[in-house]
Every structure is written in structure tokens, then in C-alpha cells.
Symmetry: C2
Subunit: 384 residues, 2 copies
């Protein structure tokens, strides 16, 4: 159940010393083919880390032979020198594998504004190359962890025989930096880059883009999808997309469940919206309200804060026509007092907030977490 579950992939994870703790921090995922079709999605943050700028270019060619990832240093806000470091990293990986540097995707996560210790990284890459293994997926998943408490992996096998694997890190806060999310997905389905790209766009839109633990967009978020074609199966795009969405949703859920400092996993479900963008806007406003997140963390079914968050959006609705249920109890009816809020049971880890806008038929679901003192402690630690 990893990136090496599909045929045609090898991976490795090693400790290079970038992390002071001595834990694994360099991962390598190699596509041995026969094909090397690929697609990627990167952060929409305009301040993009050097590896993000690089990988964006690489993915444009629709072909990626390997992904090298490091944790412990984000190589973000490091200027032209930082970009040169990425270039050298890709060249080294390319040389070791006998492919072009332009076919190597690079991902980094960790502290911002500090140069990569390239001596350690390059030694780590050589070690990872030597350790490449068809069962190396779990080691790679471990090497991209920062403050994640568990590695996040997924695998699916289609009835027609092709497979999909994946690993992810992040969504909880990194200590001491951003909630960078890195995801590598692999498949042995035989698909063209444009099919992979469309499927990945469809999948990220309803999974990773519907995960919002603290509204803070990282400089390094990257999702890479590699297809080896080694199964010899060419599934229909619809079939492939459906499996990809399912796998990405699984990883997104794992990310939210491990979000640092979070005590509760909150699903915000918006119904009756005039459009899907409206539904997402409303869900995001609620998911980003510190007051709502504090209340849920404290076991308080405070629907007034939910309405106040909805009221800040431009979505279509009548201000006096909104229903809100928390864990199934209709605490707010037509924007006013509904069932007794004391009936709401918030003792469990999972909380569902259901919002009915009565403005149409569109829906959206978004995952978030509560806001806790642990989150604050985690993210107020001095970064050096």
C-alpha cells in the first residue's frame, strides 16, 4: 500500500542529516516505465518555493522519470541561489538514473528562508539511489514526514488489473514552518499525459483543495502523478479518474486526521447552494473561522458563529433563510433558533456541520479541524 504498489516503480527513503533529529529526510521515487507520462499540480501561492517553480516547468512536458523529495528544509524564499540548488539536485538525480534533469521533479518541505545544505542532500540522494527498491514505498513515505505522526499512504487495484499508489505528508503544521502538503501518486495504468492531467485536476479539486486546516497556503504544496504503463492496461479516463478521486480523498482524510494540534476532524457540508463555487465559498468561510473552530474544539455547538461566518460570503442566499445542523441536530432554522443546542453531542472526534442555503441544488464538502491551544503552541515555537 504505497507508491511502489503499482508495477514499474522503485523507491527509497534515507537519512541525510538535513533534519537535526537524524530521522529520514530524503526520498526518491523512480518510474522504470515502460512509460513516464506524468502530471502535477502546485500551490497557487504567488510566492513559490524554488522546487515548485522547477517542478511546474518539468510537469509541463508531461513526462517525469523520478521525483526527489526532502524534508527539513523548504528551499523557499532563497532567491536565485536556491533555484540553482534545485537545478543541481535534478542534475544529480538525472545523472544517477541516466535521464535528463528536465525529467526530474523536485519537492522540498521544512523551514523557509534558509539555504539547503546541499552537501548532505546530495550524499542522501546517492544513498537513496543505492537503496532503490520495488518495495521501497513505505521508506519513502517516512522520509517526507515532518511533524506528521504517521506516514500517509494509499493503494487501489482496479478490476481491470491496473493499480494506483500514493503517499502524502503535511496538512498539520510543520515545526517550525508551513503546512506544506506533498503528494506523490503512482499508477501502472497506461495513460497519456493529457488524460493524467485532466484526472489529476478533477481529483485535486474535490479532495486536496477541500482540505483547509488553517487557511494558510503553503509556498511548497505539490502533487505529482506518475504513470508507468507497466500493467499494460489502458483504462477509460472516467474509470481512472474515479479511482484517483477515491485515493486522493483517502489521503486528504489521512492528512486532516493527523493535523497537528487538532482534536476534532470537522466536515463542513453545504447543500442547497446556487452553484458549486458558492457552496465551496460558504464551506471555506466556516472552515476558516477561528471562532467556529475554537467553539467546536471546546465542545460548544455555537451555531451563531457559523451563521456569522456564512454572512461574510457573497454566496446567494436569503439572510433569514439558512438552516444549520451540527451532528444531525437542527440547531438553526431559517437563520433563527432551532432545536435545543444542548442536544448536540460533540464528545466524539468527528463533527459534521451541515448547512442548507435554500438557494439551489449545488453541494460541497470540505474537511477542516478545530483550533486548539496545542495548535498555538506548535506554531509559536521559535524557528531556529
Amino acid at each position: 500500500m504505497s507508491v511502489t504498489t503499482p508495477a514499474g516503480f522503485r523507491a527509497a527513503g534515507v537519512a541525510s542529516g538535513i533534519k537535526e533529529s537524524g530521522r529520514p529526510d530524503v526520498a526518491l521515487v523512480v518510474n522504470d516505465g515502460p512509460r513516464s507520462a506524468a502530471a502535477a499540480r502546485v500551490t497557487r501561492n504567488r510566492i513559490k518555493a524554488a522546487p515548485v517553480l522547477w517542478t511546474e516547468q518539468v510537469a509541463r512536458g508531461g513526462r517525469i522519470g523520478a521525483v526527489v523529495l526532502n524534508s527539513g528544509n523548504a528551499n523557499a524564499c532563497t532567491g536565485p541561489d536556491g533555484f540553482a540548488d534545485v537545478h543541481h539536485t535534478a542534475e544529480l538525480v538525472g545523472d544517477l538514473l541516466g535521464i535528463g534533469a528536465a525529467d526530474v521533479a523536485v519537492c522540498s518541505t521544512g523551514i523557509i528562508g534558509v539555504r539547503l545544505p546541499t552537501d548532505r542532500l546530495f550524499a542522501g540522494i546517492r544513498a537513496a539511489h543505492a537503496a532503490l527498491d520495488p518495495d521501497g514505498g513505505p521508506a519513502a513515505a517516512e522520509a517526507i514526514m515532518t511533524t506528521d505522526t504517521v506516514p500517509k499512504q494509499v493503494a487501489r487495484t482496479a478490476s481491470s488489473g491496473w493499480r494506483l499508489g500514493g503517499m502524502a505528508k503535511g496538512a498539520g503544521m510543520l515545526a517550525p514552518e508551513l503546512a506544506t502538503m506533498l503528494v506523490v501518486l503512482t499508477t501502472d495504468a497506461d495513460l497519456e499525459p493529457h488524460v493524467l492531467d485532466a484526472a489529476l485536476g478533477a481529483a485535486t479539486a474535490v479532495t486536496f483543495e477541500r482540505l483547509d486546516t488553517d487557511g494558510c497556503l503553503s509556498t511548497n504544496d505539490t502533487v505529482v502523478l506518475l504513470a508507468s504503463g507497466a500493467s499494460g492496461v489502458r483504462p477509460e479516463p472516467e474509470e481512472f479518474t474515479a479511482v484517483l478521486v477515491d485515493a486522493c480523498a483517502d489521503l486528504a482524510h489521512q492528512l486532516a486526521a493527523d493535523a497537528e494540534g487538532a482534536g476534532k476532524l470537522i466536515t463542513v457540508e453545504v447543500r442547497g447552494a446556487a452553484s458549486e463555487p458558492d457552496a465551496v465559498q460558504v464551506a471555506r468561510a466556516v472552515a476558516r473561522s477561528n471562532l467556529v473552530k475554537c467553539a467546536i474544539g471546546g465542545g460548544d455547538p455555537n451555531w451563531g458563529r457559523i451563521l456569522a461566518a456564512i454572512g461574510t460570503t457573497t454566496a446567494r442566499f436569503e439572510p433569514d433563510g439558512i438552516d444549520v445542523a451540527i451532528n444531525g441536530v437542527q440547531v438553526c432554522r431559517r437563520s433563527a433558533i432551532g432545536e435545543d443546542r444542548a442536544k448536540v453531542d460533540l464528545s466524539g472526534r468527528d463533527v459534521t456541520i451541515t448547512i442548507e442555503l435554500h438557494a439551489g441544488a449545488a453541494t460541497a464538502r470540505l474537511l477542516t479541524t478545530d483550533l486548539t491551544a496545542a495548535y498555538v503552541h506548535e506554531n509559536s515555537a521559535y524557528s531556529t
Copy 2:
């Protein structure tokens, strides 16, 4: 130094029992004239509390004879019944003062989604009416406090003899509800409603609207400006606006300084923006970043998080051309590593983040606070 500093005003503050603590919770501010020109600004939240809907209508007439305020209950999300409660409140105040209900502004702050205990409120209003006093400003300022630790008041005397007074509450979190901000400003200058309205719009735009402690927009925010004309002086609009801006900035600073759970008072200053809206957008993105706020709270001059927040905006700038200084130390130059961040002294209460976009000549300044475990505790307490 209160709303009764200008001539022509009386005020009172009493305890009616709406607050279980028995602390003062009903305030009345009366304009004895000779004029009763007025202007108001209310929250842009589309879910507006009943008193906000009422006061918005009242202010449209350009004339307000009295403002009645209660703390302990926001009368928000209370449906048509809640609106009827406001109407009856204004009628009672109007009857007691011999003016029309349509000349009475009503403000409420406290818990959302619970009907006002009107029996207590009405008894409190009668007591406040009996207690009206030309020196009653401080008592009124105390009666609108919720979890404010100190009353917030201001007064200015113009060289031409007219005066301005004001009181405010909020911006820290209410226990258990929203950070409602209520402000009443009084003046004995003799000005027409349209002049007051323009001045109030100009003043709120650069003061209260540049205060953002947690990004959560209340359903009840209201700012009311009353002019008695009792000084007989008719200042130039420019002179009046300048004094009003200064007084509002003073109150906004008092609000931020008393924000609950906050350890640091952060000024975000954006320079070199292509436009003022660009500057405000960048300042707000930084002020709303939980990661930035946690870092500052922890004494960590984490400029990478500031850049990441800037990168989420649509403001005009080159991604590799941003400078950031924290308390005067240029930690980030051209979006990359600048001076050693260890030089930044964050031991004091006041922190200034200065951002240079190199995209024009516009500037903006915004006040915010850090994010602390105390904020979370304060806002996760069960609301009943």
C-alpha cells in the same frame, strides 16, 4: 473624557440583570440638542442582528435623539420576534424621552441566538432614564463592556471650541460570542447629517476598518455619531474629519490593546503598493494569517510566513521583489534572506511588521494581535 464631554449630552449606565454577573448592562446616551444630526455605520456581515437592521434604518433619516445599548445579549439570529423586541425597546425609549421611536438607535452585544430578556431590559431602560446625567458618560462606557477589561473612551477639544467624545467596546472576544464592536461618538459641533456621514465614512475606513484581531466579522458591529450643535460652532468638514479620525484611531488602538487573549499588539504597515486597496489587502492577509500570529506570539520573527501570506493576495508585486522588516530589522530583502533574524527584538508588547512591495506609492496600516492559547481558551468555553 467620555460621550458626555461635548455639550448637549446626557448618559447613564445601569445593571438590569441581563448579565448574570450583575454588572452594568444597559446604557443610554441622549442628545439634548439643540440639533440631533447623526450618522452611522454598521457591520457588512449579511447576517445582521435585529438592532443593526433597526439602527441602519434610523440612521438613514440623518437624525438620532438617543442611543440605547445593552450588553449580555446580541439579539442576533432571533428572527421576527427579535426584531419586534428592538421595536418595543425603541418605543419605550422614545416614550420616556418624548421623541419618536424612529429617532432611537439600538445596539446589542452578547450571546447570539437567544431571545432578549425584555422584562429586565425594559426595567433597566427606565432606571437608566432616571439616572441620565451630563456626567454619565463613564457609567455608559462601563455598561457596554462584555469581556473588555477596561472601558474605552476618548475626548477631543478643537481650538475653535467644539468638542468630540466617544466610547467603544469589543474587538477582544466576547464570552461566549462574537467580537462585536460598538462605538458611540458625540460632538457639540453644529453639522448637517451629510457632513457627519462623510466624515464618519472617512474615519471608519482608516481606523475601525483597519482593526482585525481575528478576521471574524460580527453580526452586530455599529458605530453611531451624534451631533448636538450645542457649541454653536460649525467647523469646516476637513477640520471635523481630522479630529474624528484622530479620536477613532485612539479608540481603535484601545480596542486592539484590550483584545482578549492577545499578548502583542501588531501594526502591519504596507508601503510601495500600487493602490490603497492593494496595500489593505496585503496588510489584511498578513494580519489574518494564524501562522504569522502564532509566530509573533511566540517571539519568532518568522518572515517566511509573512511572505507566504502576501503570496495569497492579488495585489500587484513581483514575487521576488518584496522586502520585510520586523521591528526595524530588514529580515527579508527581495523575497529572500536579509539580515539575521536573531537581531529582531520581540520582547516588547508592540510589534511592527513593515512590508515594501516596490509596486507604487500607496500605503496602509492595519492593527492586529497575536494568536495565543489564551485566545483559544477564551473562545472555546461552552456558551451556556
